[in-house]
């Protein structure tokens, strides 16, 4: 699978037009339906190659797009969500500098 290719499992004759938000491989049990004790086994079954992680991020991005950005009467929510995510991300990467601005020595 080179850059720009469809996933290996995607077959246009079976699946129809390509949906970037859909996982075309064999579906595992959803994360929301497993017990706490099964989390380790569930994680060990995941494909943790860089391509798979990039694909998962891409699918999440498109699921978010289809849900909040692409609908016909989309609102202002996606802008706030992007803003909040950016704030969190940049606060996290700048935390080492931010922590010098703390006002109290003891908490």
């Amino acid at each position: 699978m080179a850059f720009g290719d469809y996933p290996a499992e995607y077959n246009p004759k079976v699946h129809g037009p390509y949906d970037p938000a859909r996982f075309y491989g064999k579906a595992d049990v959803p994360f929301g339906q497993i017990k706490v004790g099964e989390i380790g086994a569930w994680l060990s079954r995941r494909n943790k190659s860089p391509q798979a992680i990039a694909g998962a991020v891409s699918r999440a991005w498109w699921r978010w797009q289809h849900k909040y950005v692409q609908p016909k009467r989309a609102g202002v929510a996606p802008f706030f969500q992007v803003t909040l995510a950016a704030m969190t991300f940049f606060y996290a990467i700048n935390y080492g500098k931010m922590r010098h601005h703390r006002n109290y020595k003891y908490h």
């Binding site: 129809g16 289809h66 109290y104």
Partner: protein, 240 residues
């Protein structure tokens, strides 16, 4: 004949095409396509997904998620994991301005964008429907043309019949010609015979009369005259 072969050669690929497109449409219906939703997913407080609140509702009731949020913020601020430096206050003022703008301008902008998206969608839809209408009309016209082409075959038959009638008429006219010509020749022959006979007869009569007149001698004439006078006197005696 030329038009008929042209018609057949045109019709065959058309039929194949129609079959192919019909089978393609049949296989395309099996997979469901993603539909563009009308409305986005529901959010509360402007950005938090509704599903997050539903997840909490089953365990903690209505106020649970809010309590969790406030508690988390309190923890982060209290332990100074979230440090309130100078950028925090500029961010807070920006957030207040953004919220006020959304509350004040939101409904107006939403109404305008809804109107615009409806207008754009109607434009595209009307263009598409117009195209479909045009294509349907073209199909109707094509069917009508084919019907007319079939009429051309009927016309050819009618023309053939017409030519047959003309041939029949010419044949009859010529037969009539032959009949009249033959009749005229026969009439001529009959007339010739009649004239020949009449002339023969006339000539014969003249010949006989001339011969008879030529054979009469003056003696005979005198005797005849005498005889006539004798007869007349006999008649006169009898008449008295």
């Amino acid at each position: 004949m030329l038009s008929r072969t042209a018609l057949l050669s045109v019709q065959r690929p058309l039929g194949v095409l129609a079959m192919r497109s019909a089978s393609a449409a049949g296989s395309g219906d099996q997979v469901a396509r993603r539909e563009r939703p009308e409305h986005p997913g529901k959010v509360r407080l402007g950005f938090i997904p509704e599903e997050w609140f539903q997840f909490f509702y089953n365990k903690t009731g209505v106020t649970g998620p809010y309590t969790f949020g406030v508690g988390l913020l309190t923890y982060l601020c209290s332990k100074e994991i979230y440090v309130m430096e100078h950028e925090y206050y500029s961010g807070l003022s920006l957030a207040i301005m953004a919220i006020v703008a959304v509350k004040k301008l939101g409904p107006t902008v939403a109404a305008w964008t809804d109107k615009e998206i409806d207008r754009i969608e109607n434009e595209w839809k009307s263009g598409r429907e117009e195209e479909l209408q045009n294509l349907a009309e073209a199909i109707e016209a094509e069917k009508k043309e084919q019907w007319r082409a079939e009429g051309a075959l009927l016309l050819m038959d009618a023309k053939k019949e017409n030519i047959a009638l003309q041939l029949e008429a010419a044949f009859r006219e010529r037969a009539m010609n032959v009949y009249t010509e033959v009749k005229r020749r026969l009439d001529y022959q009959v007339e010739c015979r009649h004239i020949e006979r009449r002339i023969n007869q006339k000539h014969m009569v003249n010949w006989i009369v001339n011969n008879v007149l030529g054979s009469i001698t003056p003696q005979q004439e005198k005797e005849t005259l005498d005889k006539c006078i004798a007869d007349l006197s006999a008649l006169a005696v009898r008449a008295k």
